[in-house]
Each structure stands twice: as C-alpha cells, then as structure tokens.
C-alpha cells in the first residue's frame, strides 16, 4: 500500500513487519525517530517483541549480539558517535557470525560536534565484517531492511547487515512509500531458523580465544563469504523483485551510462540529485551518467569494472574522507582498475556534503565541469577558503 511517510517511520514499519524478537537501541539524532516508533509499536501491543532499554549504544549492541546468539531475530539502529561507541561489539557480531540488521542513520563524526549527514560513521567501520548497503531513497531504505534480513540469515552467509541511510535527508524526509504487506513479507522472509545458537541442552562456544594457530582462518572465512555475497545479494534482490515488483541489482546501479563520456560514482541519497542533473544535462545533449554503489561491503569490484571500463572520464563523489589519504570510495574504484588493460582515462575524486552541507545540483554540475583531462586526486567541492587560516598566531 502506498503511503506518504517519514523515512524513520517507514523503516520502523518494515522492521516491525520483519517481526524481530528483540530490539535494543539507545536514542541518538538522527536515528531517534526509528526506535521511538518501534518502542511505541511494542508499547501499544502492535509488535510482539522485547524492547530492551539500555544505558548506551555499547549495551544496545551487546544486547542484540546476545539475542542473535540465542537464535532470535534482532534489530538495532544508531548513528555517528553511537555507532563508534558500538564499534568493538560491531566487530564481535561479525566475528561470531551472527545475523543481524542494523540501521545506520548516517551522520558526521565529532569533533566538532555535528548532528548532520555525511557517511564517515559507517565508512569508518567498513573493515568490521558487516555487509554495508547504502540506500538512495526511503523506498530503497525500506526494501534493503527486508533484503538485509534475508541475506544475513541465509545459512551460506551468517553475516550482519548494516543498512545505511543518510541522516535527515532520508530519516526525516517524507516520500511516497510502497509498504509491503505482512503476508508478502512472511513469504519473502520466513521465521529465522538459526544454524547455531546458545542452548544449555547443546552447549557451544562463540567468539572465544583463537590463538595464532586459529585466528587467521576466522578472518579468511569472513573474507571468502563476503566474496560469495557478491553473487548471493543479486539472487536475493531478484527474488525480491518477483514478490514485490521492485528491481534492485543490490550491488550497483547504472544510470544512463550507455555511451556516456562522463560518469559520477557515488552512494546514498545524493544519487537522486545526481540523476536529476544527469537528466538535465542529457536533455542538453551532454553524455553524462551515474553509477550508484549500493553494496560498499562486499565491494563489487568486478561489476564496477564492467560498468566503467569504457567510460572515458569518471568522477567519484564521496561523503567521507580518509584524512591524510584519499576518499574511501575513490580508493575502491581506483583499485578496481589496478593492473587492468581497460580503464577510464581519468578517474578524479571529489569530497562533498560533509557535516550536512547540502550537495546541490550546482555542486554536481561543478563536479562534471571539473571532470576534465586534469586528474584530481582528492578535490573538496563547495569549500569555503575564507574559513581557513594557516595558524593561530
């Protein structure tokens, strides 16, 4: 049924339809509305789930780790500092091969404190062993939660999934959402049957000491499963399309890239703005396009290669930066062309939208105009030089 809904409310509704047995979260802007709504659903008796109140994100993550370990479908959500406070548990959840879905309402990182959107929080946890999927709009955010549980709980995966949605832009934005019906959700996502669980009748150990004789294999196994996920994710999205009629590739989306001479690669909600600019420029006869990365982990290097190998000029637009090095998505794209015969002549990297600074259509047009024969290793867009000074003396 199509409804005009706030992103957070829509996510809470789809999570509710997924029937998690345990929800635990600590409020943090801009994630709050999601868990507030879930708490309300539980309090109203509309969702039969245990909502466990905790004193911090570290505890929230620990609670859902424990719940998942006992074989219960679980859910949590957070943002920014909250995700960082969860960080050690985040690695543990993946290390223990526990299925889980977490919503990261993407927000900038302190200091200086900033509650607005960029993607530095989830990007900084890219090596944690979580599958990371980035949503472009509210509908995709909703659908990725459902898809996320299916991927996560599959016996061949058993990895947690982080659904990343841009804070405020998607969490507080309002769009028309086609909300799946319970019957369809139940068909697509049957009740969770754990491959292993903590059970006093049949005791097992999870995440215990692995000395040098054992540790490497635990990491290799996750790394190898991530590679399998590159073929598994599109299978799940194809099945999703059959039930719900919405087609996602799950790894990346190519938008008007056929015959394109200049293409922007990006992730998340900004892809919607880029599509609009692409349409405008195409109407004027400019051969431009977009490649939207949905899955950042696992990173679909082969699909990226196929999508961009014949494009002469590629710009990567990051909403985060690895300070002292390059922008994270740019690094991945460049690595995808390492030692390849076919590659774009120019791969330029741009950073924009940090701490909630709007990436406007003009910002996107500037990226296209700066995508010249001069390769740019890491260019900041919309920078205000007047705010910068060399020293405090």
């Amino acid at each position: 049924m199509k409804e005009f809904q706030e992103g957070s409310k829509a996510v809470a509704d789809i999570v509710s339809l997924c029937k998690p047995g345990v929800i635990s979260a600590y409020p943090i802007t801009p994630q709050t509305h999601i868990v507030e709504e879930l708490a309300q659903l539980v309090a109203d008796g509309k969702l039969n789930s245990q909502f466990i109140n905790v004193e911090s994100e570290h505890s929230a993550a620990s609670v859902v780790l424990g719940a998942a370990a006992t074989g219960v479908r679980s859910y949590t959500a957070t943002s920014s500092q909250g995700l960082f406070y969860m960080a050690e548990v985040i690695f543990n959840i993946a290390g223990m091969r526990l299925p889980l879905v977490l919503t990261c309402a993407n927000r900038a990182i302190s200091a200086p404190i900033n509650i607005w959107n960029d993607q530095q929080d989830s990007i900084s946890l890219r090596d944690s062993g979580w599958i990371q999927l980035y949503a472009e709009d509210i509908q995709e955010a909703v659908d990725l939660h459902l898809i996320g549980y299916r991927i996560s709980e599959d016996k061949s995966m058993m990895l947690p999934v982080m659904v990343c949605m841009d804070g405020f832009i998607l969490t507080h934005g309002i769009e028309v959402v086609d909300m799946p019906q319970q019957q369809e959700v139940d068909k697509f996502l049957p009740s969770y049957k754990p491959l292993y669980k903590l059970d006093v009748e049949n005791p097992i150990s999870m995440g215990l000491l692995a000395d040098p004789d054992y540790y490497t294999e635990t990491r290799y196994a996750i790394h190898d499963t991530m590679k399998d996920a590159l073929t598994f994710i599109p299978k799940v999205t194809a099945e999703f399309a059959k039930v719900f009629g919405r087609n996602y590739n799950g790894l990346l989306e190519e938008y008007r890239t056929k015959d394109a001479e200049r293409v922007i690669v990006s992730m998340g909600s900004v892809c919607g703005t880029i599509k609009e600019v692409v349409d405008e420029l195409r109407a004027k006869g400019k051969k431009v396009g977009l490649v939207k990365i949905t899955s950042f982990r696992p990173f679909p290097a082969a699909a990226v290669f196929d999508a961009l190998k014949d494009i002469p000029k590629v710009a990567i637009l990051d909403k985060s930066v690895s300070l002292g090095s390059y922008a994270p998505l740019a690094v991945e794209i460049k690595a995808a062309f390492f030692a390849k015969k076919k590659a774009p002549k120019i791969i330029s990297s741009f950073v924009a939208g940090l701490g909630g600074r709007d990436i406007t259509k003009d910002s996107i047009k500037e990226v296209f105009s700066l995508l010249t024969n001069k390769e740019r290793p890491c260019e900041f867009i919309d920078l205000k030089p007047e705010l910068l000074r060399e020293s405090y003396e």
Binding site: P203, S205, M206, D211, Y214, E217, T218, T225, D228
Partner: protein, 87 residues
Amino acid sequence: MFGPLIVKAGTSKNNKTGSWRTESRPKFLKKNCIACKMCRVICPEGCITGDQKNSYDCDYAFCKGCGNCAMICPKQDIIMIKEEAKE
C-alpha cells in the same frame, strides 16, 4: 565459509594452546617429591597430572610456562628451564 569459531564446548581441552609458552617450561625432577599435590592444584591450566611421589608431570601441549608449579613446590623438585634446553 566458516572458520573454527562456532564450536562445541570443551575447546580448551581439544585445542592445543601450549604455543603461548615462549621462554621457559617446568621440569619435574622427580627426586624429592612428597606428593603434596600443590603443583597440580595451583596449575591454572589444570595440565599437571600425577598421584604418587615422584610421579607428577605436565602436558606441554597446554602448559603456558607460568612457573607457578615451580614456585609453590616445597621441595624445589620442579625447576624452570629454558624452552630450548634439552631434558
């Protein structure tokens, strides 16, 4: 693919953990032992076995070389020797 992570209980018994031992290991001299069992009781790994006088020994596949057994032996009948030393 799964690594050796989700496991049945009892891994501390099944997995050899003696690779932690780096510097020295206990040597049971078996000369003045009075079978007081103190070494067996204090061993944090529970890897010392024995019952009668001069019968005590440890399983080096689990011994971490902490030296507690040598320290507590009232007869100094257990000594710590360099890992590379021969018996």
